[in-house]
């Protein structure tokens, strides 16, 4: 089975992001970057599937050149091959452009199953998996809590507002996995060393036949950025053993008890 996992390098989610005041793009300079923690679940899900059933995991990423580190981390976890699409023209791409680029790279590579996280932790538009599926003309089974492949059928427990749906779809397909779907492995030292000799394709939008696709689809622009109003400062107390009483009093004051 050929599994392609989409991954993204993002600013460390434990730091507060900033927008460039003139370009309105995310400031990436001087910011620690990591493989999106959400994507580790996707890589792990792919590895578990091919370990059980044979096949290979390819990871694909679009982003700046240093995004190669995120691809390498996925290779160190056990993916067989990496693809990084990096191109200055793609800077500031919106969700649809990102999906077009990823779909083109996935189509070029060939796939039985594409795995993504439900959304990136930095941009969190949360529609790229569905867009990729539409562009590849395959089903998108999103928000998977579990992922199984039985022959050529994908079987998923899909998160819903009320609980979950059992969903089946014929491969090829796209599946997006929720956080907590598995326990992502740590790369072993052997994995990290081995990653250096694994095949790694570096592509541009031109290689994918998408010249001029870069940037945001010219259909939207950020017209205003302002600091959100802050909440008024509250009362902060050290727990002297009676903190619980303060909370009970507060609940009574708010008339919820």
């Amino acid at each position: 089975m050929k599994v392609v996992v989409c991954v993204k390098q993002i600013p460390d989610p434990n730091t507060t992001g900033q927008l460039d005041p003139t370009t309105h793009l995310l400031k990436r300079e001087g910011v620690e970057v990591v493989l999106d923690p959400g994507d580790e679940f996707g890589v792990e899900a792919g590895l578990q599937l091919v370990e059980a059933q044979g096949g290979e995991v390819t990871v694909v990423s679009m982003g700046p050149e240093r995004g190669i580190d995120a691809v390498r981390k996925a290779l160190a976890m056990g993916a067989a091959k990496g693809i990084l699409i990096s191109d200055d023209a793609l800077r500031g791409s919106d969700a649809l452009t990102t999906a077009r680029v990823l779909a083109a790279a996935i189509r070029r590579e060939g796939f039985d199953l594409v795995i993504t996280s439900t959304e990136s932790t930095d941009g969190y538009t949360g529609v790229v998996p569905q867009m990729i599926a539409e562009l590849l003309d395959v089903p998108a089974v999103t928000f998977a809590k579990t992922v199984e492949v039985d022959g050529t059928t994908l079987k998923v427990k899909r998160q819903t507002e009320a609980g979950y749906d059992l969903v089946e779809a014929a491969l090829p397909a796209v599946v997006s996995v929720t956080a907590g779907v598995n326990e992502p492995r740590y790369p072993s030292l052997k994995g990290i060393m081995g990653a250096k000799s694994k095949p790694l394709d570096r592509l541009t939008s031109e290689d994918l036949g998408l010249e001029g696709a870069g940037g945001a689809t010219a259909g939207q622009s950020i017209t205003g950025v302002e600091a959100a109003p802050q909440r008024a400062a509250g009362s902060i107390v050290k727990d002297d053993g009676e903190g619980y009483k303060r909370i009970a009093d507060f609940l009574a004051e708010k008339k919820v008890i």
């Binding site: 998996p129 969903v167 014929a170």
Partner: protein, 325 residues
């Protein structure tokens, strides 16, 4: 671009529209002269009265029994694209829910137009803009549609309060387009409700959330006990503990989880990473308990207790029981 006609994509369960559809209709009424709804479910027509009462004059309803069995994303995007071609809405509003995101994403790719997600408001002044908040709600951003053609926006639940318009039932127009065979392989074979006792997270007047500071998954029982004694409370969680597999994704409050706006939000052992705060900062009152006095959650808290949540929780449960009796 100005707004003459707005459509609201409505999810239907048991013949009733999802609450977000009514919220979106209420907002749409303030922006456009014509407001209509679109729904795909075998019993979609049953929702015409409620959708109409919130401002939809027409309901385009796909009522083929297959709509109840298939994953909605692919076929609903096809059907919507065809309907939009015929009826030309200026803006289509979707709720930020699992299924509506599927439909909106596929539709945007099909039409080749942008979709702006995570909206908290929509305005029509100098162009149509979607307002959202980024970086843990520290910045408010306005994004304007520049393209000709329909605008697609995905709005977070609870962004607007649903209010009846006093209108009569929406006129039902049957959607007659057929579902392409290629969509028929992606089917829902069973629907499982794993209903927690008590109110839903998004609707509960009190939300009690736990994070890493609880130390161990079993300590979520303390939150359940507190919820039980309060009676009208639901239990949520930070992303860190969902990622760690302590509790299911459905309990996650935050940017990638649910948005809650309870009367009181209680955060136990949650540091207040921006990922989390975007989902709860709309609470009317916030109580935080955390060992780290520098935890960012205290910047939002109306009452902050610097201390061990595992000590405070059992004492609080006992205190509330005592006050009740």
């Amino acid at each position: 671009m100005s707004l003459g006609k707005i459509w609201v994509f409505a999810e239907i369960a048991g013949g009733k529209p999802a609450p977000i559809a009514l919220e979106l209709l209420t907002k749409a009424r303030s922006l456009a002269g014509t407001v209509e709804a679109v729904a795909f479910a075998p019993d979609a027509a049953d929702a015409a009265a409620e959708l109409g009462a919130h401002g939809a004059t027409t309901l385009y309803a796909g009522t083929d029994p297959l709509w109840g069995e298939l994953l909605l994303g692919g076929p609903a995007a096809d059907a919507l694209a065809a309907l939009m071609h015929e009826h030309r809405p200026d803006l289509v509003l979707f709720g930020m829910t699992y299924t509506s995101r599927d439909v909106a994403g596929r539709l945007a790719a099909k039409l080749g137009v942008p979709v702006i997600a995570n909206g908290l408001d929509v305005s029509d002044g100098d162009g149509v803009s979607v307002h959202s908040s980024v970086f843990g709600a520290s910045l408010n951003v306005a994004t304007r549609f520049e393209a000709a053609g329909p605008a697609l926006a995905i709005i977070r639940p609870k962004s607007f309060v649903a209010e009846p318009s006093g209108g009569g039932p929406a006129a039902v127009t049957q959607v007659t387009s057929t579902i392409d065979d290629k969509h028929k392989s992606a089917r829902v074979t069973d629907r499982v409700a794993d209903v927690a006792a008590g109110p839903k997270l998004e609707e509960a007047p009190i939300v009690i959330s736990g994070g890493r500071g609880l130390g161990d998954p079993k300590n979520f029982e303390l939150l359940d006990q507190l919820a039980a004694v309060l009676g009208n409370a639901a239990v949520g969680a930070s992303r860190a503990v969902v990622d760690a597999g302590w509790v299911p994704y459905a309990m996650q409050v935050g940017q990638t989880g649910k948005t809650v706006k309870p009367a009181v939000y209680l955060a136990f052992g949650i540091s207040g990473a921006m990922q989390h705060t975007v989902g709860m900062k709309g609470a009317k009152a916030i109580v935080a308990v955390n060992r780290d006095e520098n935890a960012p959650i205290f910047k939002l808290a109306d009452l902050g207790v610097v201390g061990d949540a595992l000590k405070v929780l059992p004492a609080l449960v006992e205190e509330l029981q005592r006050r009740r009796s």
